[in-house]
């Protein structure tokens, strides 16, 4: 596929720049960064720099601002061999380049089944039909007249970490864990819209449907729909990005990303689930005995260390080191994150910083003095319901290795004496 070669080129480029940034001598350490005293004055300080003398661009140079040119390697990346065609494929959030809890809109991973629908909002309609008193059609303008709310939620693809069941495979948390993002949505509680049509007493399920070429559909119990689901038209304050379902998407907090129907155009109410392709052929979890779980909606408690990690090695030598990562659970808030640097022999509780919101990612830090020796980094999240993130072996013992979905196991990064990191499994 032609995309594959360009993809490779750009990734190679970033690896090259990583190497030049990192270490001339093969490892990841920057020689000299550890010396406490400079041998000669730093010309960056003693000489006047261009940006200090000459005027920069004026205010309108970029009416819509973009990141610094020095951040050009901070991009979503895909794994070309995973799928037959980029129109039904996925790319991954660069978790190792981000901090805090909010994912910038342009870096939220993408997963489409029929490409990105391009819809003029003036041409978009949302229909409510089925077991309702009055089937209705809304324009986007109509939707914006319902009372709104703002909520921060993570969205995780059920297949996140799905390539790691049989063992360590992809070298970077972008690829092992990057099918998650965390965004503040502005929109309307779904219950307002369903109540406007009037759900009949027999109505027990909804079927949201997308307007894209995959006409994506999933069955969702009415109870969830009436609880915390939203119809969102803004993400992080601005209009949804086309790849995230512009102009409207469904928000299904804590549940599989596939259910968050993008380009939402219709919601049907029924008395039974529909057993659509995405809840039979896909998004069902095959177990070792050949049976398969269906309707595995909630995303389990999970965490990952984003730095250091294979794409973000330690470049500064021993001494003060910031370890950081993300934790989340579809069952509520994260109560605690423990970190181990010796491969799970001993654990210490990490510091959570930033907002702690239900069904949103939490940012944790563990600040420690690295002595330069080999480390095995792990993180383990515990949510407010008392669910503890399991080990890979616990999950494999319960399910086998063919589930694809819902791999929330503890990840291990090996830190080598040169500061580089690798995705490993340990005894």
């Amino acid at each position: 596929m032609s995309d594959k070669t360009t993809q490779k080129d750009s990734v190679n480029l970033s690896r090259r720049s990583l190497l030049t940034k990192g270490a001339a001598a093969g490892g990841a350490l920057v020689a000299g960064a550890v010396s406490a005293r400079a041998a000669s004055p730093d010309p960056l300080i003693t000489e006047i720099q261009d940006w200090n003398r000459y005027l920069g661009d004026g205010v309108d140079a970029k009416p819509y601002g973009v990141p610094s040119q020095f951040e050009s390697n901070v991009v979503r990346r895909d794994v070309a061999w995973l799928t037959a065609d980029p129109k039904s494929s996925v790319n991954f959030t660069p978790l190792h380049e981000l901090d805090g809890i909010i994912t910038p809109n342009g870096l939220c991973f993408e997963r489409h089944h029929g490409g990105i629908a391009e819809i003029n909002p003036a041409d978009h309609r949302l229909m409510i039909n089925g077991l309702v008193d009055t089937p209705l059609v809304f324009t986007l303008e109509d939707l914006k007249r319902f009372p709104r709310e703002n909520r921060v939620y993570f969205l995780e693809c059920a297949a996140n970490s799905g390539m790691e069941w049989r063992g360590a495979q992809l070298n970077g948390c972008q690829f092992t864990h990057g099918m998650v993002h965390n965004v503040m949505y502005t929109g309307v509680p779904l219950k307002h819209i369903l109540n406007e049509a009037g759900v009949k007493p027999e109505g027990k399920w909804i079927l949201p449907e997308g307007a894209d070429a995959a006409a994506m559909t999933r069955s969702i119990p009415l109870e969830k729909a009436m609880d915390d689901c939203m119809i969102a038209f803004k993400m992080n304050g601005e209009a949804l990005r086309p790849e995230q379902g512009y102009p409207v998407r469904l928000v299904v907090p804590g549940w599989e990303g596939n259910m968050w129907i993008k380009w939402l155009r219709r919601i049907e109410i029924g008395d039974e689930p529909w057993h659509q392709r995405e809840e039979t052929s896909k998004y069902t979890d095959l177990l070792a005995d050949g049976t398969a779980r269906r309707f595995t909606w909630e995303m389990d408690v999970k965490s990952v260390i984003t730095n250091p990690s294979p794409q973000a090695p330690i470049t500064h030598g021993r001494g003060a080191t910031v370890l950081t990562g993300l934790a989340w659970s579809g069952f509520g808030k994260i109560a605690r994150v423990d970190v181990s640097i010796d491969g799970g022999r001993n654990w210490e509780t990490a510091r959570i910083d930033g907002p702690s919101l239900s069904k949103s990612v939490h940012r944790f830090y563990y600040d420690f003095d690295w002595d330069g020796s080999e480390l095995f980094l792990q993180s383990r999240a515990i949510d407010e319901m008392g669910n503890v993130q399991p080990t890979k072996n616990e999950l494999r013992a319960a399910r086998g290795v063919n589930s694809i979905y819902h791999n929330n196991s503890i990840q291990t990064w090996q830190i080598k004496p040169d500061g580089s990191a690798e995705n490993v499994e340990i005894s």
Binding site: G198, T217, R277, A292, W297, G344, V424
Partner: protein, 373 residues
């Protein structure tokens, strides 16, 4: 040109084609880029374009039909090229308007572009990747430019207010907020095409295995293979029975899917990939019957599937789906306070590394295993 006429493939498409040919290159290549999305599932164009399901389309204008080396064309395409068919604005317009009418037996399973503008624009777009083709006239017409700067979405930041006074607006009586309008029956019928395992939602209609075989060969086999075995990485639709407990399970309609209704529903809403909603209800019945046949669920080529016998068919794996019981797994059920100190006696030893099987995108090695589907 006469030579290509000798091939005798033009039929009715020619009338449209010639009227278009004259101004095709003057059309809008930018608009054509959008139209090309309909083609992009199967064709690549531009720098480094490779053959996909269809041949790459660089320099297609002026090229002999079937002229890309290394691409496996259908016999009719090769014969047409041998007979002198050259891709030019008018021949392309004829082919793209109705591929199978223009060239019986072509393996391009594409319904055709119905709008003349789309045809002209996509050809103009292809011309931008063809050396020697006249460049498209890109200058916009004067009136158009003027109009643009007047629209509120252009330079002005103030949106136009509606023409009627706010107090005269009609407020519907339904609901709590009185928003939206009542959906019409025709609108619901147009969008509500979902089908349930109990048959609710099935349209009237019928189709046989043999009919499905023919449609499948024309419209589906390029990706899914003649027997649903799946070409390259396109999905496998048949086989895999008894593999669910094996090391590499093959999940197909026959080995895994619980309900036949899902096949009907999904094919009708999404397939063929890149040309959704183009099949008639009867064609979907025939294709569903054929997929059953490929999976040995039915064995008679004359078997006819219809809305009246649909519910009699059961898929073999239906009973093997269970409810979500993750919370009963011991690691969740226990809800134990996890160990914090000296949890494992021996020091950690590496048992597996990602670098051994280096399939991360920046590595030089090939492809990994596993799936995200």
């Amino acid at each position: 040109m006469l030579k290509s006429l000798k091939v005798g493939l033009f039929a009715g498409a020619l009338a449209t084609a010639t009227s278009l040919a004259g101004n095709a290159l003057a059309q809008d290549a930018a608009a054509g880029e959008k139209v090309f999305k309909k083609c992009a599932a199967c064709h690549a164009v531009g720098e480094g374009a490779k053959n996909k399901v269809g041949p790459q389309l660089n320099n297609v204008i002026g090229r002999t039909a079937g002229g890309v080396e290394g691409y496996k064309y259908s016999k009719p395409m090769i014969e047409a090229g041998g007979g002198g068919l050259i891709w030019e604005a008018e021949t392309l317009a004829g082919y793209l308007a109705n591929p199978r009418k223009f060239m019986k037996g072509t393996k391009m399973s594409f319904a055709g572009l119905k709008k003349e503008d789309d045809l002209a624009n996509v050809i103009a777009y292809l011309a931008t990747f063809s050396e020697g083709a006249e460049p498209a006239a890109e200058e916009p017409k004067a009136e158009e430019t003027e109009q643009k700067s007047e629209t509120p979405s252009g330079n002005s930041s103030v949106a136009a207010a509606p023409a009627t006074l706010a107090k005269d607006a009609e407020v519907p009586s339904h609901g709590i907020f009185h928003l939206g309008r009542v959906a019409l029956e025709e609108e619901i019928t147009a969008w509500d095409i979902d089908v349930r395992p109990d048959g609710a939602g099935l349209p009237k209609g019928k189709g046989t295995v043999a009919q499905g075989d023919e449609i499948f060969a024309e419209q589906c086999a390029v990706c899914h293979g003649d027997f649903g075995e799946g070409k390259d990485r396109w999905p496998v639709l048949a086989g895999g029975q008894d593999t669910l407990t094996k090391e590499r399970p093959e999940k197909t309609v026959g080995s895994y899917w619980p309900y036949l209704s899902t096949v009907y529903d999904y094919v009708r809403r999404t397939m063929p990939f890149g040309n959704a909603r183009s099949l008639s209800d009867d064609e979907v019945y025939a294709l569903t019957a054929y997929i059953l046949y490929l999976n040995d669920v039915v064995t008679d080529e004359e078997f006819e599937l219809s809305d009246s016998n649909f519910n009699e068919v059961r898929l073999p794996n239906e009973a093997n789906f269970i409810v979500d019981n993750r919370t009963e797994e011991t690691h969740y059920a226990d809800k134990k306070e996890p160990c914090m100190k000296d949890c494992i006696a021996e020091p950690a030893k590496v048992t597996m590394r990602a670098a051994v099987l280096d399939v991360t995108p920046d590595s030089e090695e090939g492809e990994g295993g596993g799936s995200i589907e």
